[in-house]
Symmetry: C2
Subunit: 683 residues, 2 copies
Amino acid sequence: MKKNILAISFFTLCLKLCIAQSILTESYNLMPWPQDISENTAKFIINSDVTISLSSDDSDRVRNAAVIFLRRLSNRTGVFLNEGFPLKERKGNIQIIYKTHAPLNIKTDESYTLTVNDSLVQINANTDIGALRGLQTLLQLITNSETEYYFPGVNITDSPRFVWRGLMIDVSRHFHPVHVIKRNLDAMASVKMNVFHWHLTDDQGFRIESKVYPKLQSKASDGLFYTQEQIKEVVAYANLLGIRVIPEIDVPGHASAILSAYPELGSLPDYNYSIERFAGVFHPTLDPTNELTYEFLENLFTEITPLFPDDYFHIGGDENEGKHWTENKAIEQFKTEHNLKTNHDLQTYFNIRLEKTLNKLGKKLMGWDEIMTPGMPTSAVIHSWRGENEGLPNGGSLIKAAKSGYQTVLSNGFYIDRMLSVDHHYSIEPIGDIALTPEERERVLGGEATMWSELVTPLTIDSRIWPRTAAIAERFWSAKEIRDLEHMQKRLAVISYQLEEQGITHIKNRAVILRSMTNNQDISALQELSNICEPLKVYSRNKDGIEYKTFSPFNLFADACIVDAKDALSFNKAVIAFQKEDTKSAQQAVLHFLKQWQVNYSNFSKLTLNPKISALEPLSKHLSKTSGLLLKCFEAQKVSTHDLDDLNTSLEVLKQEFMDTEVVIVAPLEILITYCKTNFQTR
Amino acid sequence: MKKNILAISFFTLCLKLCIAQSILTESYNLMPWPQDISENTAKFIINSDVTISLSSDDSDRVRNAAVIFLRRLSNRTGVFLNEGFPLKERKGNIQIIYKTHAPLNIKTDESYTLTVNDSLVQINANTDIGALRGLQTLLQLITNSETEYYFPGVNITDSPRFVWRGLMIDVSRHFHPVHVIKRNLDAMASVKMNVFHWHLTDDQGFRIESKVYPKLQSKASDGLFYTQEQIKEVVAYANLLGIRVIPEIDVPGHASAILSAYPELGSLPDYNYSIERFAGVFHPTLDPTNELTYEFLENLFTEITPLFPDDYFHIGGDENEGKHWTENKAIEQFKTEHNLKTNHDLQTYFNIRLEKTLNKLGKKLMGWDEIMTPGMPTSAVIHSWRGENEGLPNGGSLIKAAKSGYQTVLSNGFYIDRMLSVDHHYSIEPIGDIALTPEERERVLGGEATMWSELVTPLTIDSRIWPRTAAIAERFWSAKEIRDLEHMQKRLAVISYQLEEQGITHIKNRAVILRSMTNNQDISALQELSNICEPLKVYSRNKDGIEYKTFSPFNLFADACIVDAKDALSFNKAVIAFQKEDTKSAQQAVLHFLKQWQVNYSNFSKLTLNPKISALEPLSKHLSKTSGLLLKCFEAQKVSTHDLDDLNTSLEVLKQEFMDTEVVIVAPLEILITYCKTNFQTR
């Protein structure tokens, strides 16, 4: 009986959610979508009399957020506010009410309610962090008519599904200065993310100043590292935004940089360690049988843990097969003596010692899922990066970890550096249909998008993180049932330009690259190409041809291209619609693109060529040719064998890679060619 | 006789320079133009084998510059270099040879020679600073054909005309974070500027952390200030680029912020001091009769001078009429007792005491030209900001200062916040035809462009500084005779996009503003308008209508517009050419623009309007109308009275201000209307 009520409630909930979403998403561009939203008929006009007041002045976070809110409100609306700061002596017409100044951890209450009436906006929250989340929602509610800006009347009750909603940035493969991190923290906050995982060390560089081991920055960073003051600055900045910072010092593998500074800690005594310039998995590894290694790590951790107040500390631990361990007889002997059968056992021995050190320093050890070996205590936190795609059972290492008693965080499926579509990432359901006990469910803390930086620099990193990560943020915050792709895409388009308004460079820097490529000629022809090409996916950019080094150029055509290429997406949709229903208007929508592309080559040909753009010439040429031929067929309602041959020849060209990108309109073009063949063919 | 030889040499020199420039500027986009350049037939191909070596490893500056050089070379050319760092064990095919690691001061030798042969590039300099300057020239020499990039064969001998080539940035009216300063330092270095004058305090905010007087940041900065660590970081960064940093603490006027924190130092005991939100000149002033004032300044200067290693220290001293002094009887009495007749005498008394304090700290006092009062010792440095336009005699305060025995620096004529054309600033000749003795000439140190920030934020500051300041940098570095406007403009267009390549946001952020204004609609119609409108000049933006506060929005239409609006400049030129010579092709060049503008309104009308763009509607409408009518006249070769009336009506509309901008094609449109009237009129 109870079961039945539950089932009905669940059905009602689903229905309610689905209806609510379908109606409301038409009006509101909220992301992440709140747990509950209803409309009222009110309208709060945004004019120069807007004021804001806080229930108390004890939270730097809320004060800071309120000032930023006023600046962004003013910039978005163009309204000249009379009061640029929260009121102190009287109540504002936007009131922020919160009870406590919360410590930042996985228990932090982030819930809030938001009500908009004609003359009053109220945000109510148990904690200051909840108030911050509510302010971001309010900013996303700004709406306008031709004559005014306003907040529409709504009642929102909201809280996150997962407590850990993170973004990892790798600053080793390419260094990203403080301001790049800060602008990404701003963006994270705007979509309610709350964990910044800072991958600070890897083979390609050690990026944090150590006063105890100064060679780490002087020999292992190429001068590109954060001072301890800068680390503090970033951590404080993140804290103001309600974002926790988890540092990662990746050991025992991924250690080329560390070992270039302190080779005495390496697993092969005579190895010539140096900072790695290429991308890949390398063998230099700390020696887990050397007491100096533990002394070094204990000293280093003792020095840097105070910079990071968070409870969690990430030790990496990934991708080490221990090749150098096997090559070193002394290490092999140590294994025998300690009854450690495999290199994995040896790494577990290493991890357990590290965990003790970190516990002593008040930290919980976190590591990539390789650390989940039989002997590893469940006090460790498993960062799941391998899943079904790596041949693991349903749920991947995440579910295994949760069921084995570990707290766990999911990144499998959220590797944004693989250059996969936002639809792909958004559709990943962390838990899926797997039955978990409440305890197991609680151990699934949430997830992290991972921005590995082999192929990104400060110029391009934003366009690799955003806007896709906003949709991932929704996956981590919103209800499981919020998963309609079209609604997400519609809202994401708005969130995307608002991210630019906030300082994210994902849109504007594309034109910078194209201007640079052309020596400042008219970039419209290249822009058109960049809207139908996507960077090679799943690490294949670095596979053939020239291999990229850390200091190779990353302002090339592929760097101006993005995942979810705009015109390609629209064209694909238009062709699919035409395929479904062969109407005049559906056909027009398709031909519209073909007409645009037909003239690309004549525009491209006006450019004075140089070595950075010449390789795009066949792309432009055959795009125009294919488009022109298709247009001719549709117009004449006939197609000759000769035309079909030409079409197929051009299409073969478009199937090639162009400057590390792929043309992502080949499939719909093929559909159109088949259509012509089927419907129009003549001899 | 000797005179004659000199005269002939001078004539020859002029001739040589003029010829050299006219031929060479066609090929090279160097800015500032070097003192001497000649061509050889060589060509140094840029491929992956390019390497760089340094004559010694004792200069951080050269090592840093060489790495940056390699990154920029690689980004500009797309070449994948094998070696990403200077060679240590062998010589490179680019060799940098310098003798000493120089201290940074007004005596620093910045000269260098640069020779490019087929297989070798050599930069020779007496100092590491000279080597940096040479590397910037080499970067500007990169040339390409369709198939390759290369350095053309040249021999350059170069050194600056003035030792002080500065940019002042006001970070008080609007705060500009460290990364904004750093990117501008990079840009300065690329055009060989060597002084960053940091206007750190003013009525609107005190921007540097004091540990001795912490209320300066806690009460007088709105939380927007540099920590001492950040100051050190910027100074070190500038030093690496060969740029001196001169701090300015503006006293005794412009002191609202200081007095909001320490009102006890103010000239009116019961005045309610607060951070100023508006732009303008205000009365709050330190009390020069109060010993506490001197104690405060001595402690403050003692605390902060160690952060700024430069010899010079700027105390402002401008725009104080001493209104509050006159209102305070005790101060009036002090004047009487000390035989100080005027408020200027009182300020001199104050300045002289400050100078002693600064001298004790090893600093030379520098101040705006108001400090040049009869009693002021000539050990002070006069920063000339008032000139003939303020009613001063020929040469303004600069020449007066030099002739009176003061070292002096010119900013009159280089107030880039006045939004005047690059031609205007470039044409300012600091010394002109005024005869100076060698000693007087030596006291004219150089000049500074001044970026006052009442109307700029980090989003827009770059577009107010650049590219115009690159031309000003040339004025300060290159020979007086280098002054051809067209050549400058041609080179500046190239330098401008290269500044963007380097990280300056002056081009890309304009589109950001337009996207934000339109809620991410197609911005092409607005872009067209922004290319014929310029922000109101000489501070008139803040004159009528809403007055801007520090927290007002600065992402409006005027902020997307720039000085030297591109299409307006081209159209003006086309109309003038057509006026000179009424040919078919000259007419076509004019009509080309009219055709473009004729359709602006139909594009504009496709936009969903909002309060940020509605006010542009009449601009777009009447631009299209005027263009359409003119096109009709030219086509029909006749114009009716009715057309002329319509033309004049529309032109009157275009003479109005639109959202704080002016339409800068009114004059050429008037010429065309007159032409139609004269040549085509019918009844």
